[in-house]
Symmetry: C2
Subunit: 142 residues, 2 copies
DNA sequence: CCAATATCAAGAATTATTCCAATTATTATT
DNA sequence: AATAATAATTGGAATAATTCTTGATATTGG
């Protein structure tokens, strides 16, 4: 079943349209889940959570919504090795540290004033559209 | 058919054992291919090339060999988004720039003296075991 | 209201990679 | 050298994340 966008509950503060993307009920709930659970969930994680609110949503729709949100620059897709893609609503430039002990993924910011592209020997004429920084290691709690 | 390691042709300069890994004929040919074709081939690319020399090699073996070489730090596995894994024999610390126009992947070095981990706000206690830097964009030739 | 377009749902299809079982090769032991 | 134990290879089956397809439903604009 497709939910009418006009039946959106009152407690949502997500606009009806973001940068040209129609915010359907499904897209809103997918986006809300990412905003509430900032632990870089997979499509399936999102699917399970969104089902609490939209019991009839399909996994394909979650994938469609995530892709639409990524395409419009509202969220970011994050990949570790060959694992399932994860999704992140943090739009500030940041990298990801994957703690192998706990599985937790930490957002990593640059120190102030650092611009990665300045530190690389890029080939002349290179126009960078996207940068991904991935760190793998352990977080010692001792 | 399994090739006897003793029947290795004379023009190979790869040692019989590298850091504890038995260099079988299959592993030698996989490694040789990576050294000769520095364009970050996929497992299937390697498979097709190696078949010229070992017509009976299987794709599973190519995957096995690549994994063994990666595990022993002899080559690196490189991932772009959700595409097939690619493999790189360049062991110096470097990143990868994926030119979307041509599909070519360029090795990217840091400018001298740059150490990425120094520029990031890592959580206290983080021990980094691996860093991956991936750039996507276009190489203007004009 | 109507037509055109967009979105959704369910399940099938795709595909890179891994797994499995049988065979062959290598190494260690007698 | 023969034998036993271990490791590697092969071909095909299995896996699993993602994408595709198709029919239904919703939205938009006239
Ligand atoms: Mn639940
Ligand atoms: Mn060929
Ligand atoms: Zn993030
Ligand atoms: Zn490389």
């Amino acid at each position: 079943m497709v939910y009418k966008t006009s039946e959106v509950p009152a407690d949502i503060e997500i606009p009806e349209e973001i940068s040209g993307l129609r915010m359907t009920r499904q897209r809103q709930e997918v986006y809300r889940t990412l905003m509430q659970e900032r632990n870089h969930p997979t499509a399936n994680d999102v699917f399970m959570r969104v089902k609490d609110r939209l019991p009839n949503i399909s996994l394909a729709t979650v994938y469609n919504c995530l892709e639409a949100l990524v395409q419009h620059g509202i969220i970011r897709q994050v990949n570790f090795e060959r694992e399932s893609s994860r999704y992140c609503p943090n739009l500030s430039e940041h990298g990801h540290f994957h703690d192998e002990t706990t599985g937790v993924i930490h957002d990593i910011d640059f120190k102030p004033g650092v611009h990665l592209a300045d530190l690389l020997n890029l080939p002349p004429g290179a126009v960078i559209e996207d940068v991904e920084i991935t760190l793998r290691g352990k977080l010692l709690t001792a």
